[in-house]
Symmetry: none
């Protein structure tokens, strides 16, 4: 099944939360965006701080913007900060360029959307996103 | 239990979808915001159009802005369109002033947040929101 | 004394709240801006809804924008809505064009700032603003 | 009493000003925001410069955004400037990431809001915020 349905998006979130619980992560917020950058599903665990939806979405949106996981944006932001600033400007200020935004692909490479996670360290956020995507039967592209 | 936890937010969404199925409504999008206007949970059913998250959130945000259900904003927008335009301007363009944004209150009247629903007629959107809120054990304020 | 000091701004707010209590108004939010449109003091009474600061400020800012009380903007918005829309656009979306934004002037006509109030009817909001300004020894310009 | 009422917010501001006077600080501006980032009360002392409301609010808003005192944002901004820029972008440009934004918590750890102060050095701004919060009977989280 290659479509990113609501059921699949919810499955991604549930699996990401399960991974977080296993690894004793802090409360997470998980956003699932379709390939056009539009929100399908979002959940914020109890105890999360105020702006977590914007951060989670900003990681996923940034990944979709350039067709790479947001870990790549993190590198670019360090090497060419003016590029990242320009990218954020033309996006209308919608990008958070740190790890935790991971592309969702089919086995054949078709882009379905992206997951953005925030709440723990950026590395753990990314781990939870990859776990969620793979548990739902898709390929994850983090870097 | 009077807190609007993620579990309660998910229960509201599930009950709203159940109501929509019973009443043969079109695919819905449901946003649950806390009392400060920040997203706790969102789900968009398959077959929904592109900007449904923004519309659902905009109804809930508008309800919280003035402390009334978004049906009240719908009336104000007709009677005093310049007030509604000004309100939308100072909100940063975050309000959709039509029915379907419903306040979530405890039995004792404490404001916990708001639900915004879009996808069917505004009246049906509001019905689904009320059903969801009441099924989760809270009071709904639509008008 | 012709300056709009913090002590004077606080006196305006206190007198507006006293007037509201006498007249059994709903909880009010009161913003006092200087002649440059910058906030000096603000207070929101318990039980007010979410966006009251933005609304109160938007009334006062609008009054300062054109050098008239926001009641005048209310009239203009009805007669020439495109003018009000343009004004709001060029202000960066900072104007709420309904009564309740009142200019603060010295006896000799010097402009010191504006008060914006929201929470009850627009007419009552304006009454409270006028009371507050006059109690602090200034002239109020509402229309 | 665990709620952040207007009376409590005013008490925080009065105590912060008292601390500033004792320590011979420059004129301060103090914003008190609720847990959803919405303004409850603000006061700017005479002799302050133009944009002090935006700076004070921006410190408090930033603290609430991530659930840490704004001193933490100051560190992040130095170590990972692209993360801070992204966070500011998705917040709509509402964050000033320097010390002086301090969370307000109950003794049992419930988040009630945040205080943002500007006018003196960032370290002194933060000291005044902590003094104000503790004088009102709450716990302060600065880092």
């Amino acid at each position: 099944m290659s479509e990113l349905t609501l059921a699949k998006a919810n499955a991604i979130i549930a699996a990401a939360f399960a991974k977080a619980q296993d690894a004793k992560m802090k409360p997470l917020s998980v956003a699932v965006l379709d390939a056009g950058g539009h929100l399908i599903a979002f959940q914020k665990q109890d105890g999360s701080s105020m702006l977590r939806f914007e951060i989670a979405s900003g990681k996923a949106y940034g990944a979709l913007a350039v067709g790479m996981g947001s870990r790549w944006l993190d590198t670019i932001a360090k090497e060419r900060p003016h590029f990242m600033e320009g990218l954020n400007a033309v996006s209308g200020g919608r990008i958070v360029p740190v790890p935790g935004g991971v592309l969702i692909r089919t086995a054949s490479g078709a882009l379905l959307g992206a997951v953005g996670i925030t709440g723990d360290t950026s590395d753990n956020d990314e781990l939870a996103a990859i776990s969620g995507i793979e548990a739902a039967g898709f390929d994850a592209v983090a870097g």
